[in-house]
Amino acid sequence: MAKKTGSEETVTYVDKSGKRLDGRKADELRKIKVEVGVIPRADGSAYVEWGQNKVLASVYGPRECLPKHLANPYKAIVRYTYRMAAFSVPDRKNPKPGRREIEISKVSGEALARAIFLERFPNTAIDVDVEILDSNAGTRVAALTAASVALADAGIPMRDLVAGIGVGKAGGHLLVDLNKAEEDAPDAVDIPMAILPNLGEVVLLQLDGLMTQKEWEESQKLAFQHVKKVYELQKEALKKKYAVEGNSGDMEAGARAAEEGVVE
């Protein structure tokens, strides 16, 4: 769709028929797939494919916090590790954690900490490790989406799931879920957000680029509207684990309401 005029390259980010570079509509998400419980030895785990992004998240804990000087006697601490695999980008990435990874780990960990009932587990640590296997813009929101599903899979008490969404602007158009080509636009604005969908709280918001107030308000509306779709996929993936599993397809048996007591 990119038109070449002379030596200058101008890109049409949204064409006349309302289609984007990769054929999506302006407010269309990439294809998202969420899987739960992919790492058997972890307390909780999840795998998310978000367009080309591939993210693997694992959760260990709450467990004893070592080294002990990091422990907080009033609540659990969240140790979130965001790492990009060396092969996750076109050129090899130095596997040493860089400035960017350390910063993303910090803000994402704080976003999750808001959702978890940390005060129930004093002196412990919850380790969340997220590995980016393949990337094409929007990995931190995909990582948070996977991490919160993994936390739920670990049975850690949370206020709400954390759902990530990217909104922004490219070529003067407001877009949802920007990919790499759109993020590299000269006027690009990228706003990764993490939201607690049921409580309507924003737990992560970063922005670079310039926007008018009107664009900003519109983009927020888009984010809250489309994060619901991400949330539904997370919910569906978690429920699928218990829907028919081990039921040999016999839903009737499970549905028979002869209720069995749970000894407490």
Partner: protein, 219 residues
């Protein structure tokens, strides 16, 4: 009763999902926000008369006073042993109650005497278990292994002829001639803990296996 949806199936809820909008007493694994009751974990919604709660499907063991736990000795101290009880921290078992000097790796059971506000345990009434096997299951599924008033445990013991000790911390000690069958049965319970008529299914599984073993004997 467990909450049922329009298809009469149990309602699985995720963290942050509304359990009920009515005014109810708060049970376990729910919290109140702006007048609505939300779940705080992945589990099954449960509305019992005037109280709402969620039965968790995942989660770590959080000790309560009075729990029976099965632990493995890690190391010896002056007056006792540090013991792994599948909790946040290792617990201490006093030598006073134990008959002799024990090696690391020995299986012991104990009652939780007290849990402090830091989730640290105090154990009492410890006993040693010689031989046998130790298996782990998810601690949230232990109530189903025991069953209502111990009914499931009774089925397991009778069907396999094993002696069993079920710890609240998700550890099960087994000893007997047919441990393999008992482990298979426990695996079924763990896999299908959220489904109905579990006791019936385990009973029929054990009966079927027993019949097979009987047939193999005469073949």
């Amino acid at each position: 009763m467990i909450g049922l949806n329009e298809n009469n199936a149990k309602i699985v809820v995720v963290p942050g999902e509304v359990v009920t909008e009515e005014r109810k007493k708060l049970g376990q694994h729910v919290y109140l926000h702006q007048g609505r009751i939300y779940s705080d974990c992945l589990g099954m919604a449960r509305i019992d008369g005037d109280s709402a709660s969620v039965v968790p499907l995942e989660g770590k063991y959080v000790a309560q006073a009075g729990d029976l736990v099965v632990g493995v000795l890690i190391s010896e101290k002056f007056a006792g042993y540090t013991t792994d009880v599948n909790h946040f921290y290792p617990a201490f078992v006093s030598k006073k109650e134990l008959p002799e000097n024990l090696k690391p790796g020995t299986i012991v059971s104990a009652k939780v005497a007290h849990v402090n506000e830091m989730n640290e345990l105090e154990l009492e009434q410890s006993r040693v278990f010689y031989g046998g096997d130790l298996i782990s299951v998810s601690p949230v599924k232990i109530p189903r292994v025991i069953g209502r008033n111990g009914s499931m445990l009774e089925v397991l013991k009778r069907g396999t002829g094993c002696s069993m000790l079920v710890g609240r911390n998700g550890r099960i000690w087994l000893k007997g001639s047919n441990v393999g069958l008992a482990i298979k049965a426990v695996e079924i319970i763990e896999r299908e803990a959220h489904l109905d008529n579990l006791t019936d299914r385990v009973t029929s599984f054990l009966r079927e296996e027993g019949r097979k073993a009987e047939a193999a004997k005469y073949a």
